[in-house]
């Protein structure tokens, strides 16, 4: 799950990172900092997994007023 500050929301952490990258000589127009939440689910049904993840995001993992999210599903690596 990728959680990021919505466009237009002041992101001071992103600004600090942006300034630091510029200081290092990188040509950065803008930096925004979000967070990644890795979850391992019991289900192997992608539809059910997605529905459950959306509920998790709505209830706890994001604050819809200030954050948006993207869900990416991956098959577990088999040993």
């Amino acid at each position: 799950m990728l959680v990021r500050p919505k466009p237009g929301i002041l992101d001071p952490q992103g600004q600090a990172v942006e300034g630091s990258l510029r200081h290092l000589g990188f040509d950065v127009a803008e930096a925004r900092v979000g967070r990644v939440v890795d979850l391992e689910l019991a289900t192997d049904d992608p539809g059910q997994a997605r529905a459950e993840l959306e509920r998790m995001c709505d209830q706890l993992l994001t604050n819809p007023l200030i954050e948006s999210y993207v869900i990416a599903l991956e098959e577990p690596e088999t040993a």
Binding site: L10, P12, L60, L61, N63, L65
Partner: protein, 236 residues
């Protein structure tokens, strides 16, 4: 303290990581309330609760987002029911964050624009003196109360802010030019539509004695105790 005047029951909720619960309870006691501290795993508020305070601190280590995990504590369901029945709820700093995360107050609290923890006295403009939390405040008189937070940047989008301004839900504002955290509209505290739930980032419980440099916080907490006493009288 004062003979014959009933002491309303104003519990202070303690979450793992709360650290201003003792100051809040002490201030409320001095202002005439009975202020037991109530652990967050309780399913109910104490019988006879006349108002409840969610104190400052760093519940659950501020993990994920400030207040995001504490809002699911068992006691918060009881606080939600109490608020829905018109009960008085005051959230201070982390308590304010918890109330916004719980959807009991509008907006959200984000990291300070400076990315620095701020700890200093701020001058507060009181926009409403007719609320149960501000009856002791005088119109036009600023309060001096300290803030101490890393995530006090209150945010609402333009539409939400305009609606709150029009509805009179912006209760406290940092005096223009003194905004310590980048909050939109210089907002320091907001209430719900019914005016019985209030949250603010400054700490009134740290401004109740001359030794602390200001007694202005007693105007807010004293108003709450007065109102809690009135609700007690009305219920009898």
């Amino acid at each position: 303290m004062t003979d014959g005047v009933p002491r309303p029951l104003v519990p202070v909720v303690v979450f793992p990581g709360s650290n201003d619960d003792r100051d809040a309870a002490t201030a409320l006691q001095r202002l005439g309330a009975d202020a037991p501290r109530v652990w967050h795993t309780e399913d109910e508020l104490p019988a006879g609760t006349a108002a409840v305070v969610l104190p400052g601190g760093f519940s659950y280590g501020d993990y994920l987002r400030c207040g995001a995990i504490a809002r699911f504590s068992p006691i918060m369901a009881a606080v939600g029911r109490f608020a829905a029945e018109g009960g008085l709820v005051l959230g201070i700093c982390n308590g304010f964050q918890i109330l916004t995360e719980a959807g009991l107050l509008p907006g959200a609290l984000r990291p300070n624009a400076s990315l620095r923890f701020v700890c200093r006295d701020v001058p507060l403009v009181v926009e409403r003196t007719d609320l149960p939390f501000t009856t002791r405040c005088e119109p036009g008189r600023e309060l001096t109360i300290p803030v101490k937070h890393g995530d006090g940047c209150w945010f609402a989008d333009a539409e939400l802010l305009a609606g709150l301004e029009a509805a009179g839900q912006v209760v406290f504002r940092y005096r223009p030019g003194t905004n310590p955290n980048g909050a939109v509209g210089d907002v320091a505290g907001v209430c719900n539509a019914d005016g019985n739930v209030l949250g603010l980032m400054p700490h009134p419980e740290h401004a109740v004695d001359d030794l602390l440099g200001s007694t202005d916080g007693a105007q807010i907490l004293g108003s709450l105790v007065d109102s809690a006493r009135l609700s007690l009288a009305a219920a009898v």
